[in-house]
Amino acid sequence: MKVVVDGTQLDLPAGTSGLDAVFAAGRDVPYFCAHPYLSPVGACRMCLVESGSPRKNPDGTWVMEGDQPKIFWFPKPMAACTMQVTDGMHIRTAKTSDVVAKTQAGMMEFTLLNHPLDCPTCDKGGACELQDRAFEYGYGVSRYGFDRRHAEKHYPLSDFVILDQERCIHCKRCVRYFEEVPGQEVLDFIERGGHTFIDTKEGGLPTGFQGNITDICPVGALLDNVARFQGRNWEYDHTPTTCTLCPVGCAITVDARNGRLKRVVARENREVNEVWICDAGRFGHVFASEERLIRPLVRVNGELREADWDAAILAIRQGLGGMNPADLALYLNADSTLEEGAALEALAELTGTPSVDHWPRYGVNVEPTATLTDVATADAVIVLGADLGEEAPVLELRVLEMLRGGILPPEFPHGTAIADLRLVERPTRHPERLAVIGGESRLWKHAGMRVPANGQSALARLLRPDTDELRAAAKLLAEAQKPVLILGADVLNSAAREFTAGLADLVTRTGAKVLPISAGPNSQGLAHLNLVPRAGGLGYDRLAEARAAFLSRLDPGRRARGFTIVHDTHLTDTARLADVVLPAVTGYEKRGTTVNLEGRLLPLRQAALEAGEGADLIRTLTALAEALGVRPRIRGLKSAQARLAERLGVDVTNLPESGLIHPLGRTFTAPTSLTSTPQLWKARMHPKPERRGSRVPDREGRSATWERKGQEGTLTVGGDD
């Protein structure tokens, strides 16, 4: 389809919006209400452009003007976001049209009419769409000679999100987000006209995915309360990396200032999280800069005392006191990187220890055959024994996307389509495409079929349906063209051989793709390394029997029978029992590679956080090897990655931004007597009130505080107005 923007001719696919046509032409148009993953609504009226189309004569020929089809211009400017371009359409932006330039400047004046001039104290300053666009397209002055609207400036919508009602420009992104993405009608406009404001009557926004509204707010109206007043946008070191709190592997940006992690925001990965992340991933980062273990600890006279690494290595050497290195069990957390796993595998080979394990993991490995995009575009999804909210929250959003018809906005050279006209407000949902078999979870209310079941019975019951609901679910699976089966902890924990056979049978019969949710953030990757107990070795479940053990970032609350070395970021309960504690780094501070539940290799990058003498597992294992008196083959990231290339046949040094799904070869399994209970929010992730950026009163206390305002010793609310 030929479209002409400011005189530049383009070839665009049918269905493209005017807004994307403009960007595709390398031109610019301001917008506030449009968002790539939300329905275009044409509310902010910033993207008005002039447009016109050729017309046909009754005989089917074009109405000509000279040797060109005559362009009939619309008498008034059109909102580019809600206008679908048609063949031969012409568009003029502010660059070539004075009418558009004045329209946009005038609209900016209206938008700024009631917007407070508190940019110097606004967290959004420097990264604010309104600020940027006002600079680019505004008059520079306002002719509005009246008082601006006054409203609440510190209104907590929840513990995590705080609303400044004065700054709101009513773009409705947040309202649409809740309705369209997590499918929750928990935030909406109240009142109408110039009095309109957003609020919730649910006693606070539900935890889950609420934080995303702070990313999409084009102004500083909705702010991350954990990061509030922690720094200006230009002061932060921004590190694009991957979240390792769960196996989804969402793209995030870690913002640090003065070596402290201040904020996590979502980043786009069209294949994984689109632009959404969960609240744990966004707000649960406080542990990275709180109460960190920054120096090694050595037990002296029964007490752990600070030491340096040399002293710690010495203490280990002495503690192991000539023990066979093969007697040292090696255990690591399944959120470790592939490189770290490779280093541990190599060390285990070197010492010959049969006692190697990673945790959490399941006793079986089910290889994923479905991607997250497959889930979103499926025509039937069956969730077996999973609580997505605890195991892989963003997977829940992709399931909900499937219920809305799985419309994925197309990609242009300028990025994801900004206004996909196929996305509509209050979309029709298809609950009949979703069956949930297992325990009750948040997904429950979205599902057309719900069958309470536990453990392994979930699959067994689907294979031999004995109720109408189950028969309906089995029928759904059988009749679907692109079904996906999601397996969660409840089934995978208890999976045995007959499970694998049953699953294989089901897949063969229905053509379903399978997406097992990994037990740990990188269990899917680590399963391809030999990190399970060998013959005669002790699994993690038998830690207590070990003559000596090294635990990296695991906190079972127990120690080994003999000498115990703990490598962790915090002084955990287990660390308190250890003989030597070595400081570790968090997932935000690592370079390396993780593998998400789809089997997608994703890069981790190192944020500029103050970690004291903390060291990642590779360096720590090097030190451990020194204590053991062996010389490890992997001594750094480079050699680890070289080994990965050898072991897994994949080059992880230069992964594409959206990651890479690559076959990683055989997996290693071993039975375990432990059960992994997925829990997204760990205790230390909870932002305690005193850790929070702003000391806002909670909702109940709010009115009381207003009354007390000004009294000595109370909180000052509304200080800047």
Binding site: P40, V41, G42, A43, C44, R45, M46, L48, P75, K76, P77, A79, T82, K102, T103, G106, M107, E109, F110, T111, L113, N114, R143, Y144, G145, F146, R149, I169, H170, K172, D188, F189, E191, R192, G193, G194, H195, T196, E425, R426, T428
Partner: protein, 446 residues
């Protein structure tokens, strides 16, 4: 005497000896709202004829009659009806827009309360033509009596087999429901009305998709004004030719004109389209009670016209009023007294639109609801400054044609026309702080 023979000259005056009021034939008569009364006066003959003609012929009949939407926009009704898809297997809906809230309009209220069966019959005809089996009548919340009378009429009609399964043995199933509004002018906008009916905030929806493709509950839907459906009843009863004989070439038929303001007999008059303002104001309404300087020709959003011979001799049809620089709208004429400050008068209307703005789009929410109304208040309170009027004009330029729906443009109707006609009053007030026409008492003692 009858009007059966073809008339050489179209009927364009209420005084024409061939003209008979039909829409309001029974309005004001005792018991006119009952089924019994309606049937005694020839009721439900139009729908019987429709059933005899068949649905496609009904649409043709309405097209031939030249009927145009009486809600304000004047879109050809038959053409609108023909936009509904045929045999698509979907549930079709028709909706009657009885959210009459344009200031100066009050014709539908009496149709609803005094002759509800005429509306029911019109909706039966429309539903039959457009293959809709369900109709909703969206009545503004304040019209309590109207809603009661319409409900009562629906129950009567159901009991008499005029609504429900197999209406009058035609094989056509149709039922009606009343949905009451709750005070929002924007619900007069058809897509906002559908949102309201669906229990949502009444923000206007994006078009396309147009209602005929995806309207109420996403199904093909057509919305017509009360008067339009009632006119369809009369067209089917007396024939398209009868209807087409009234009015001007492009504006055919009869219309309910309303007149308010300082006039001897304010009220509703059923006249042929093409009747002049002069006839309505002087001969029907008895003339103004005081000196007049302008008229609002068709409801508050229509630009004001000056009080002069040219305006008075303008025929009230869609084209002539448009040519005079305004709109026929709903046919609600309001007289603006000379002795009232035009800025104050306009402020009242701007305040109305500011109050009714839904808040969805920026130019209306901020421009009208936030800024324009304050500019007027500033002027009226005597705090105006030179340049204020120019600023209002420039703001209007940034609002006009830039908003999501027509509400903001509707507000600009009185604003721009009053500035154009009475710039001197504006400038005097802005520069001196004193209105040319000071406030005065208007409330009558008895």
């Amino acid at each position: 005497m009858t009007v059966a023979e073809p008339a050489p000259k179209p009927i364009t005056s209420g005084k024409d000896p061939r003209f008979a009021p039909t829409l309001y034939a029974h309005v004001g008569q005792p018991g006119s709202w009952t089924l019994d009364f309606y049937l005694r006066h020839g009721g439900y003959q139009g729908v019987r004829r429709a059933f005899a003609l068949g649905p496609d012929a009904v649409i043709e009949e309405v097209k031939k009659s030249g009927l145009r939407g009486r809600g304000g926009a004047g879109f050809a009704t038959g053409l609108k009806w023909s936009f509904m898809p045929l045999n698509d297997g979907k549930q079709h809906y028709i909706i009657c827009n009885a959210d009459e809230s344009e200031p100066g309009s009050f014709k539908d209220r009496y149709l609803l309360s005094e002759d509800p069966h005429q509306l029911i019959e019109g909706m039966l005809i429309g539903g039959y033509a457009m293959r809709a089996s369900v109709g909703y009548i969206y009545i503004r919340g304040e019209y309590v009596r109207a809603a009661e009378r319409v409900w009562a009429a629906i129950h009567e009609a159901r009991a008499a087999g005029l609504l429900g399964q197999n209406v009058l043995g035609s094989g056509f199933d149709f039922d009606l429901q009343v949905h009451r509004g709750a005070g929002a002018y924007i619900c007069g906008e058809e897509t906002a009305l559908m949102n309201s009916l669906e229990g949502l905030r009444a923000n206007p929806r994006l078009k396309p998709p147009f209602p005929a493709a995806a309207g109420l509950y996403g199904m093909p839907t057509t919305i017509n004004n009360v008067e339009t459906f009632c006119a369809a009843t009369q067209i089917l009863k007396y024939g398209a030719d009868w209807h087409a004989r009234m009015g001007t070439e492009k504006s055919r038929g009869m219309k309910l004109f309303q007149i308010s303001g300082p006039v001897r007999r304010p009220g509703v008059y059923e006249l042929p389209l093409g009747t002049t303002f002069r006839e309505l104001i002087f001969e029907w309404a008895g003339g103004p009670l005081e000196d007049i300087k302008a008229i609002i020709p068709g409801g508050s959003s229509c630009p004001m016209l000056p009080w002069d011979d040219k305006t008075l001799d303008t025929p009230m049809d869609y084209e002539s009023v448009a040519a005079a620089g305004s709109m026929l709208g709903t046919g609600g004429v309001t007289l603006i007294p000379k002795a009232d400050c035009i800025v104050n008068v306009t402020w009242n209307l701007v305040r109305f639109y500011a109050h009714e703005s839904c808040g969805k789009c920026t130019p209306c929410r901020e421009g009208i609801s936030g800024w324009m109304v304050r500019m007027y208040e500033k002027l009226v309170r005597g705090h105006g400054q030179p340049g204020d009027v120019q600023l209002i004009l420039d703001m209007s330029d940034n609002i006009g044609g830039r908003s999501f729906c027509a509400l903001a443009d509707a507000c600009l109707g009185p604003v721009l026309s009053s500035i154009k006609l009475f710039r001197k009053e504006y400038d005097t007030l802005a520069q001196t702080g004193q209105p040319m026409y000071p406030a005065r008492s208007r409330w009558r003692e008895s």
